[in-house]
């Protein structure tokens, strides 16, 4: 069985207000799946339902072929890790003490703490109290806690929202490494470039509905217009189509050495999202 997450016709309402309306998707083992959408689109609610923190209103939600509700069971909780925007760290304890607590709860060897700290580049800072850390460092500690037990499935809710570019890159490399080792990753973000860098497939969630789903490459092909832009040395910019009709034009510019730069007009995931929903990302 390769399907790790199977969500069909998921609905969730809070006080008669629909947060999720008929959401369906599946995630296969070893995928990095991006769940993209602006704040309030239902991304965190979906994670909460998948990790049995919130009850669904309707629909079917299976994790590892079992109802998501069963994720409340102690043994099943070892199968996934989760990073949320609300860190849930003990501020009077050090980084190491926080991770040691969870390594004991997961019944892991002490070496797991060092491995996790190395992963997030925090081993040298392990004696620091959580109350002394920046938001970015706290995010890294939470990530270390989430991956410490080497889960089969990792939920990441805005994992790099508070990180600087160097640490963001470090986390990306680490996540790819984890993924190569077989961890399936469910990532929610409103950072489209992050999704483009990391994800095998993405789904656009807007106002509680999935508006498009597919690999970034396929979505770009589907929503792109096959045009290219040619910047000429005289400063002019020409948009031409990639068909036979404009080929001669391009050939002539190149022959007369007039071309400064050529680039495709491939849409970004952000452009596609706006095209589909007509909204700006928040």
């Amino acid at each position: 069985m390769n399907t790790v997450i199977d969500v069909q016709h998921l609905k969730k309402t809070f006080n008669k207000e629909a947060a999720l309306k008929d959401v369906s998707f599946t995630i296969q083992k070893g995928e990095i799946f991006g769940f993209l959408g602006p704040s309030g689109s239902g991304k965190t609610t979906t994670i909460k339902i998948l990790t049995a923190q919130t009850e669904k209103t309707a629909g079917d939600v299976l994790l590892f072929g079992r109802p998501a509700n069963e994720m409340k069971q102690s043994n099943n909780r070892k199968r996934f890790g989760i990073l949320t925007d609300n860190s849930g760290l003990y501020t009077r304890l050090s980084i190491e003490e926080n991770l040691l607590l969870f390594s004991n709860l997961y019944q892991l060897p002490k070496s797991a703490v060092k491995e996790a700290l190395d992963f997030v580049n925090l081993y040298g800072e392990r004696k620091k109290k959580i109350s002394q850390l920046s938001k970015g460092m706290m995010q890294r500690v939470t990530l270390a806690r989430a991956i410490m037990h080497k889960p089969e499935l990792l939920f990441l809710d805005e994992p790099t929202s508070a990180l600087d570019p160097v640490n963001t890159q470090h986390i990306y490399n680490g996540l790819r490494k984890l993924n190569e080792m077989g961890t399936t990753i469910f990532l929610t973000t409103h950072d489209m470039s992050e999704a483009e860098i990391l994800c095998d497939r993405v789904a656009f969630l807007h106002k509680g509905k999935i508006r498009a789903i597919g690999s970034p490459k396929d979505l770009k092909k589907e929503f792109g217009d096959d045009s290219i832009t040619v910047e000429l040395k005289n400063g002019a910019c020409e948009v031409i189509q990639t068909g036979e009709q404009d080929a001669e034009k391009l050939f002539n510019w190149m022959q007369s050495n007039e071309v400064s730069r050529i680039y495709t007009n491939e849409p970004t995931l952000g452009n596609i999202f706006m095209q589909i929903t007509g909204s700006d990302l928040v």
């Binding site: 923190q53 102690s74 989760i82 849930g88 304890l93 607590l101 969870f102 004991n104």
Partner: protein, 235 residues
């Protein structure tokens, strides 16, 4: 229920470290000792005076600390982190309660020593005190689960402390206000009733009724606390 000693020990050690570094809560443990010292200086060496100090230790230390520990876990979202780990309901509640139970035992023992209470039957009193501690821990757990922050916990726990510490004193008003007679069935009152019975010739029923009442309070409070905890596990 899936219970693990490793996980209970981990939660216990975490609570010990957090408590020892949280002076706002840990210094509260000294309050009953100061009160016990003051009562001892007044020279009023009666059973009801001894148990005023002991019941205060239960309210101020046991209920208040347990309530604050849980409220802070909720406020900082760490309770959710524990709930998402393999720690079961039993691991979390036993781990937290064990720590408060030990702190309570030390403070109550010191209170008894300071007020100079020498029970005629130490064994029965020790059992009744341990059962009372279990009840007050449940009460603190329940209060903590109903609050969202330490600030809220400090307020919600006040009437609870007042009722259970000073409930036995209210019995003095029962001749004019019959409704106050209900206070007779509070665990704090039953503890006092038991202690007074042990100082004279007593029957088996004199021992069984107070102990059974305290056990009943504990059971009901723990069942409600467990139910509320499970409800709080989901949003």
């Amino acid at each position: 229920m899936n219970i693990s000693m490793t996980r209970i020990q981990a939660i216990f050690m975490k609570d010990y470290k957090e408590f020892s570094r949280n002076y706002a809560v840990s210094t509260m443990a000294l309050l009953p000792l100061i009160m016990a010292f003051v009562y001892n200086q007044t020279g009023a060496h009666t059973i009801s005076m001894y148990f005023l100090s002991i019941n205060m230790a239960f309210s101020v230390v046991t209920t208040y600390i347990q309530c604050c520990l849980i409220a802070e876990e909720k406020e900082k979202n760490t309770l959710r982190s524990l709930m998402l780990s393999p720690a079961s309901l039993g691991d979390i509640l036993i781990g937290k309660s064990l720590f408060v139970f030990i702190v309570t035992s030390v403070i109550v023992a010191m209170t008894i020593f300071i007020v100079g209470y020498k029970p005629s039957n130490l064994f029965i009193i020790a059992i009744a005190l341990m059962l009372s501690a279990v009840f007050y821990i449940a009460l603190g757990t329940l209060c903590g689960l109903f609050t969202k922050s330490i600030m809220e916990a400090s307020i919600i726990v006040l009437p609870v402390m007042l009722i259970f510490s000073f409930g036995p004193l209210a019995l003095a008003l029962s001749s004019t206000n019959p409704i106050v007679k209900i206070a007779e069935w509070l665990p704090s009152s039953q503890l006092l009733v038991l202690a007074e019975a042990l100082e004279r010739t007593y029957t088996t029923m004199d021992v069984i009724i107070p102990i059974a009442t305290i056990i009943a309070w504990s059971l009901v409070t723990w069942i409600v606390a467990g139910f509320i905890y499970k409800k709080r596990m989901v949003d």
